[in-house]
Symmetry: C2
Subunit: 96 residues, 2 copies
């Protein structure tokens, strides 16, 4: 299923509404690093994100080491950013 790629204007508008996310991969992804008190808190956060992601049928690329979680959102079907990434990023923010 093809998904509409955000225009640069849409992308910039969306980034303004998000907190702490930066563009990565030449504008094809948004990225944010989260830090927690310890591994249990970091993995608890990941578990919440995993459930959100599965509900939205849109999954992160992510890395964890101890209390740090690095999340990258991109839409392969759009070959860049789509509203799916923005929606998931907003839902992740609401967890915090």
């Amino acid at each position: 299923m093809s998904v509409a790629k955000l225009t640069e204007a849409e992308r910039d508008d969306a980034l303004i509404q998000l907190d702490g996310w930066t563009l990565g991969r030449d504008g094809a992804a948004i990225e944010r690093t989260f830090k927690f008190a310890n591994f249990v808190e970091a993995f608890g956060f990941m578990t919440s994100v995993a459930i959100l992601a599965e509900k939205q049928d849109h999954h992160p690329e992510w890395f964890n080491v101890y209390n740090r979680v690095e999340i990258t959102l991109t839409t392969h079907d759009a070959d860049g950013l789509s509203q799916r990434d923005i929606k998931l990023a907003k839902a992740i923010e609401e967890l915090l």
Copy 2:
């Protein structure tokens, strides 16, 4: 707390006992990639690993995208591999 770094002989001996793990980071880490049917299965596996890791007080560096989980084990306190990595790798294998 300092942890004993494995000698090369200990490391090679341990690797023979493990299934599918390869040396990374110039011998300072072991790595393995796991593939699952979908995200839910991949994250279910990660959840089990997280609990094991917390129990062993030794945590992975890991990356996930959809059904793929890449795990790297290393012991920062040993500046390389230690028995902690081997113990966690074996426990992860027993999950499968």
